[in-house]
C-alpha cells in the first residue's frame, strides 16, 4: 500500500482544491514553464477556485497577509 503524505490548506475545506491545483501546477511547471513553453496555463480555473476558498479562510482567521508587499523586507537589504 502506497501512503502519500500531502499538506493541508489553512482553510480546512480548501485542501482538496489545493491538492488538485498543486498537482496541475507541478506538471505545468516542469513540462512547460521550465522548458520556456508558453503555450498556455491549464491550471487557471483550478487556481481561481482554490484562491476563492483560501482567501475566505485567510479573512476568517484574520491572517495578516493582506497588503503585505511582495518581498517587502528584501528592499532594505543589500544584494547578495
Amino acid at each position: 500500500m502506497l501512503i502519500v503524505l500531502k499538506m493541508n490548506s489553512v482553510g480546512e475545506d480548501c485542501t482538496d482544491l489545493k491538492r488538485e491545483y498543486d498537482q496541475c501546477f507541478n506538471r505545468w511547471f516542469a513540462e512547460k514553464f521550465l522548458k520556456e513553453d508558453r503555450s498556455g496555463d491549464p491550471c487557471t480555473e483550478m487556481f481561481k477556485k482554490y484562491q476563492h476558498c483560501v482567501q475566505k479562510a485567510i479573512k476568517e482567521k484574520n491572517i495578516p497577509i493582506d497588503g503585505v508587499e511582495f518581498m517587502g523586507p528584501n528592499k532594505e537589504k543589500p544584494d547578495s
Binding site: S9, F29, V54, F70, P73, K77
Partner: protein
C-alpha cells in the same frame, strides 16, 4: 539589534530539479511543525519570471516560562510568508521568507538564491542569508553564540543534493528518506523557538550564561523557507 548569517552550499543536483522539488518540499520528516501550506499568489510576469507567494502556518511551541512571560503568544500559530521568483532564463530562484506574527518576540527573515552553476551545470549554488532580531532581553546572546557553529560547518561543502538543499542539522545532513525531506524541513522546535530560562532572562554570571547557551542552544538554519529556529535541547 539584528544578527546576520550567511552560508554558501554547492548542491549536486541540476537547477531544474532543485526548483521543481522546491514546490514539493512539504511535508517531510523534518517539517512536522509546518501545519499548512498554501499558494496565495502566483503570476508569470511579462518577462517570463514566475512570482509566487506561499503562506505557511506552523505550531508555536514555547517552554513554560516563555508561556508565562508571553501569554499572548501562547496559542497562536506562526504565520510565515515565502515569496519567490523563478527566472528560467537566468536559471535562478530567489526566495524571501519571514514571519508575519509573533514579531514582538522575534523576527526571522531569510533570503535564498539558488543559481545554476555556470561552469558545472549539474550543480546548483545556494547562498542563504538570514537576519534575526529579537527585542527580548537575553535572546540575542544565545543566538550569537550558536551562529558561529552553524555557519562554519556549512561553508562550501559538497553535499549530497538532499543534505545540501537541507539544513544544518547533522541528522538531516546524513541523508533522508525522500527528496522532499531534503529540500525542506523545519527544526522540530518551534519556529520562534525556545530559550533556556536562565540564558534568556539573565544570570548571575555572564560566563555561566554563555555556557548554558552553548550547551542548550541549537540553531537550525532552515533550508530556505522555514525560519531559523533557536532550539533548546
Amino acid at each position: 539589534m539584528v544578527k546576520y548569517f550567511s552560508n554558501d552550499v554547492d548542491i549536486r543536483t541540476t537547477w531544474d530539479h532543485v526548483v521543481s522539488a522546491f514546490w514539493q518540499r512539504y511535508p517531510n520528516p523534518f517539517s512536522t511543525h509546518v501545519l499548512t501550506e498554501d499558494v496565495v499568489l502566483r503570476e508569470v510576469t511579462a518577462d517570463q519570471r514566475l512570482l509566487s507567494r506561499r503562506l505557511l502556518t506552523k505550531t508555536n511551541r514555547m517552554p513554560r516560562w516563555a508561556e508565562f512571560l508571553f501569554p499572548s503568544n501562547l496559542s497562536r500559530s506562526v504565520y510565515i510568508v515565502e515569496d519567490s521568483v523563478v527566472d528560467p532564463v537566468t536559471k535562478s530562484l530567489t526566495t524571501y521568507t519571514w514571519n508575519l506574527n509573533h514579531t514582538t518576540l522575534m523576527t526571522v527573515e531569510e533570503r535564498c538564491v539558488f543559481q545554476e552553476s555556470e561552469d558545472r551545470p549539474a550543480f546548483t549554488l545556494l547562498r542563504r542569508e538570514a537576519w534575526i532580531s529579537s527585542g527580548v532581553y537575553g535572546f540575542s546572546r544565545p543566538i550569537q553564540v550558536q551562529h558561529r557553529c552553524s555557519t562554519e560547518q556549512h561553508n562550501r561543502k559538497y553535499h549530497s543534493p538532499r543534505a545540501a538543499i537541507g539544513q544544518a542539522s547533522p541528522r538531516a545532513a546524513i541523508g533522508q528518506a525522500s527528496p522532499r525531506a531534503a529540500i525542506g524541513q523545519a527544526s522540530p522546535r518551534a519556529a520562534i523557538g525556545q530559550a533556556s530560562p536562565r540564558a534568556a532572562i539573565g544570570q548571575a554570571s555572564p560566563r555561566a550564561a554563555i555556557g548554558q547557551a552553548q550547551t542548550s542552544y541549537r540553531t537550525v538554519l532552515s533550508p530556505c523557507m522555514d525560519s531559523v529556529h533557536p532550539g533548546l535541547k
